[in-house]
């Protein structure tokens, strides 16, 4: 890497070249991150609008807004889009792509062309999913359970091919990040001097690399089953539908950790920077990411307690499930302990840390309810499960991701959004989120099954609260999108280090120059080595010498 030490003004990565081609065929990780940001935001809006229609349909017990087949196709699209096009790529591909090389003090990821290929593959997979939607859409649920998925009409094979292709995007991004973290850390950055986001992304990448191929094989078998009737899963052909569920959850449970581990990393960064003190239990947080990735790969059968799998398998999967809860609890305690004797800045990212902690704790503890065999029998496939995974996936993963956007937004675009409005909006998001999803716990534990187009009248009032909450939540999120875009375009210019962060991305310009740094940065301490002595923390660049 060149070590030109010139301080002459250089254009930022945003202005380094112009034209649509300079974006679509860029190999700059920052531009690729921004393109992922645009793509995932558009899909999130689309998936969110679908959710809004679903909630409006459920406002009354009778089916009256759309017909049942349209409802079934919409919840299938909502799930598929949110899982495969939004949450799985959002944190690694947007924040990871933009921030990972900067945090490492590197010029780019290890394989910049492969990184661009990941994005193009993502677009191709997304295009196939949308093509399936245009061709009449599919109503299998995002879980594609057989034999329903092999016997229903619609372009299911196109959608499955889209998921197959999306998997490769995920695998290549994971591979790229692992190699980059191994080979391109700045001089002086030992493993335990890495910011915790990098540990989280490392664990995420490992899961992406190891579990995604199983999904690829599974959906390929399903396509073959639909098209030429190979009979792996269809009992009419001598196959086994439970086998499909094992295959599917062998990927899709670890996929939950693909979604939540980067969120843990983002929260670790935000809590330390905005509390202006060293993080509590660095090694505990770093290693618990890895142990969650490992144990999380062994618990897939807890999705199948009522499927008819053997009682012994269920007992084993239940036992292992509780072992994921322990490292997760340790992380939560460590984040809260980091606030003790901190210099806590009530900034929008910190507001999202508080929101995350509250919602994720509810999501995690209701997971303990579902891990208990006797209780899961009653609650499985009810709205209790719907509430649980929205608390974890949206209250956890998406909330941390939105918080992360607020944290790195001034770095990405060099401009600041209106901070007071952002803090107020985060409260609106928190309140409307709970209004939307908390009633679902109750309606679920009282017996309302999920994926129901109509329901018995007893459940109506709780559903109405949820629907009103969902509309408020949607409004709050659109408001968030609005002020973030406004901030990126017209906000006041941001300094290179608006939050007084110590990791390397805060040592370059906002927005960064095309090659990230003017010289090769070096590291001589930990990422959160805030002064802890009597002097008052202030100013830029403390604790790390260039």
């Amino acid at each position: 890497m060149s070590s030109l030490d010139s301080r002459s003004p250089e254009p930022s990565y945003l202005g380094a070249s112009r034209g649509i081609r300079s974006w679509l065929f860029t190999v700059d990780h920052k531009r690729i991150g921004v393109m992922y940001l645009v793509a995932t935001t558009i899909f999130m809006m689309f998936g969110g609008i679908l959710a809004g229609v679903l909630r409006m349909e459920l406002f009354t017990a009778a089916g009256d807004l759309v017909d049942p087949d349209a409802y079934n196709r919409m919840f299938t699209l909502h799930g598929s889009i949110m899982v495969f096009l939004v949450i799985i790529p959002a944190a690694p591909a947007v924040i990871g792509n933009f921030v990972l090389p900067l945090m490492l003090g590197a010029r780019d990821v290890a394989f910049p062309r492969l990184n661009l290929a990941s994005f193009h593959i993502y677009l191709a997979g997304a295009a196939l999913l949308l093509l399936a939607m245009i061709l009449g859409s599919f109503d299998t649920g995002w879980t594609f359970y057989t034999p329903y998925s092999t016997s229903t009409s619609g372009p299911v094979a196109w959608a499955l091919t889209g998921v197959f292709i999306l998997g490769f995007s995920s695998i290549l991004t994971g591979l790229n990040f692992i190699v980059t973290i191994h080979k391109m850390r700045a001089p002086g950055m030992s493993w335990f001097r890495m910011p915790l986001l990098l540990w989280a992304l490392y664990a995420t990448s490992a899961v992406q690399l190891l579990a995604t191929p199983v999904l690829a094989i599974t959906v390929l078998l399903l396509v073959l089953e639909r098209t030429i009737g190979v009979g792996i899963f269809d009992p009419a052909l001598g196959g086994d539908p439970i086998l499909f569920q094992h295959f599917f959850w062998f990927y899709s449970h670890p996929a939950v950790y693909i979604m939540i581990l980067p969120a843990f990393g983002i929260v670790s960064e935000m809590v330390a920077v905005h509390a202006q003190r060293p993080i509590f239990g660095y090694k505990g947080i770093a290693l618990s990411s890895l142990s969650i990735a490992i144990v999380g790969s062994l618990v897939w059968g807890h999705h199948m307690f009522t499927s008819g799998q053997s009682i012994y398998a269920s007992v084993l999967f239940s036992f292992l499930t509780f072992f994921v809860a322990i490292p997760t609890a340790i992380k939560v305690f460590s984040w809260v302990a980091t606030l003790y004797r901190g210099d806590i800045q009530i900034t929008p990212p910190m507001m999202y840390v508080f929101t995350f902690l509250a919602l994720f704790m509810i999501g995690g503890l209701t997971g303990v309810v579902l891990g208990a065999l006797s209780l899961d029998v009653h609650l499985h496939d009810t709205y209790f499960v719907v509430a649980h995974f929205h608390y974890v996936m949206m209250g956890g993963a998406i909330i941390a991701y939105i918080g992360g956007l607020h944290h790195w937004w001034p770095k990405i675009f060099g401009r600041m959004y209106p901070k007071r409005l952002a803090s107020i909006t985060s409260v609106l998001v928190f309140v409307s989120f709970n209004m939307t999803f908390f009633p679902m716990f109750l309606v679920g534990s009282r017996g309302m099954p999920r994926r129901y187009y109509e329901y018995i009248a007893t459940f109506e009032s709780l559903n109405q609260i949820a629907t009103v909450g969902a509309l408020l939540l949607g409004t709050s999120l659109f408001l968030t999108l609005g002020y973030l875009i406004w901030g990126a375009l017209y906000g006041p210019a941001a300094s290179r280090n608006p939050w007084n962060g110590l990791s390397l991305e805060w040592r370059t310009e906002s927005p960064p120059i095309e090659h990230n740094f003017h010289g090769q940065p070096t590291v001589s301490g930990g990422p959160y080595d805030y002064p802890v002595g009597p002097e008052i923390p202030s100013g830029d660049g403390i604790g790390v010498s260039a």
Partner: protein, 334 residues
Amino acid sequence: MFEADFWLPESVNALAAGSDDLFVFILWVTVVSLVLVMGAMLWFVFRYRSGKAANRLNPPTHHLGLEVTWTVIPTIILFIVFFWGTRDYVRMSVPPASALEIRVTGQKWFWTFDYPEAGVRVQATQALDEQRALEGSPVGLVVPVGVPVKLVGSSVDVIHSMFIPAFRVKKDVLPNRYTTATFLATEEGEFDLFCAEYCGTKHSGMITKVTVVSEEDFEVFIDELKEVSEGPVDGATVFAQGGCAGCHGVTRDAPPGVGPSLHGLYGREERLTTGEFVLVDENYLRESIVNPMAKIVEGYGPVMPAYVGRLSEEEMTALMLYLKGLGAEDGAAL
């Protein structure tokens, strides 16, 4: 808020008695954890907010005692939850030896209950349930109070799941294999039975009741069924019991359903999804019942379950007679 009956429907299954206690236990663990952790968070935010004078010297980054505590306590609680949940699960899953066996068949989009010992069958389509309710007869799955019951389930098409919230019972039913669920009802009454595994268009309509009656009433119910099942087969009954009315209208002004209206269908020419035309005669009707995927009328999806092996020859004949008569009085045929 902190009682089981706020969260859960009343439990009337002796085998699941006390299993709600674990729910309440975890509820308390959740509330206490939330209060402690959120309380600590809010207290720290209040105490160490930037600009507020506070002792910020040497914030700890490690504390062995604290870290061991917050690892060991959750571990102990989780072990308790695991053993408690597993114990209750085994108790809820193993049917007592003397259990009354009932065969449950799931099919898009209704349930069939066979009482093999008595040799009788009940079908629980929405229309039949309504009819029975009007007549004052027990609806849906009828079981005696105080007698252990073992449900042996299977499906004839896709996966369904029998879910009886008041019994804390849920079990998927699959094609080509049997699954079992068990309960012992402690109270007479009507309880909901839902399909909990997504199965297509009318998934949310695949609901019926479990009616728990006294042992005497149960015997009366079975005897009445025996009488009915020995009478001559009526096509309209076969049509109703087959669940056909869920998707097919039979009157002139019936709104279009999931399947085509059958009014005046016989003798008509229909356009198929392949673009071919077919004359609706006895052979086409029969084929469309036993193997509906073979020739699908344009504008409809391949969603009808195959009735191959589901109807006796006697029933098929009666059904055919009934179908041919639909709309014939209006002169629609020919």
